[in-house]
Amino acid sequence: DVKVTQSSRYLVKRTGEKVFLECVQDMDHENMFWYRQDPGLGLRLIYFSYDVKMKEKGDIPEGYSVSREKKERFSLILESASTNQTSMYLCASSWGTGGNTGELFFGEGSRLTVL
């Protein structure tokens, strides 16, 4: 059964803490994505990566960074968490490019609360 696994379902952090959200996929997909989901705003793309050590900014990259040292793993980093980063974070992966891109496979999500 193919899978995208996010390391934590629920996290509670304090303002100013550094936060790591880990995502691992076992499908050998080239592309990996981090989205943020907030009520009424849908899914907003933070960063994506189409290859190891490659990254591209999405729509809302401010306050976030990412790391992709291995093909199967894509990490989202909040250098100094703030309360407005309280949200549900979704990791996804897909194969191919453009017209040859398959559908996105999503993890279960990580709900982050920043106090």
Partner: protein, 114 residues
């Protein structure tokens, strides 16, 4: 720029009713792909369908059907004889043939009342 609009924020229907979820998209590209995803209360988004811009044939899968109309830039999703298990948030998405980025609508929350 690309945009996907799901104007219906929330819909409630009684079980066994039919319901249509609207999706309107904007793009200047001629080759693109459209998707529908379901997000049940458990949280994990599940792929439902992928359709390319050259294939306007409607598709039916059990109680689910999709109506793609290029002339109105719409890709609507109909659930026939709705069931409580259909209660979820549904997202429409677009990807261009030339890109890696998916553009999502804001989602429609469907509640099916028993």
């Amino acid at each position: 720029a690309q945009k996907v609009t799901q104007a219906q924020t929330e819909i409630s229907v009684v079980e066994k009713e039919d319901v249509t979820l609207d999706c309107v998209y904007e793009t200047r590209d001629t080759t693109y792909y459209l998707f529908w995803y379901k997000q049940p209360p458990s949280g994990e988004l599940v792929f439902l369908i992928r359709r390319n811009s050259f294939d306007e044939q409607n598709e039916i899968s059990g109680r689910y059907s999709w109506n793609f109309q290029k002339s109105t830039s719409s890709f609507n999703f109909t659930i026939t004889a709705s069931q409580v298990v259909d209660s979820a948030v549904y997202f429409c998405a677009l990807i261009l043939n030339t890109g890696n980025q998916f553009y999502f609508g804001t989602g429609t929350s469907l509640t099916v009342i028993p």
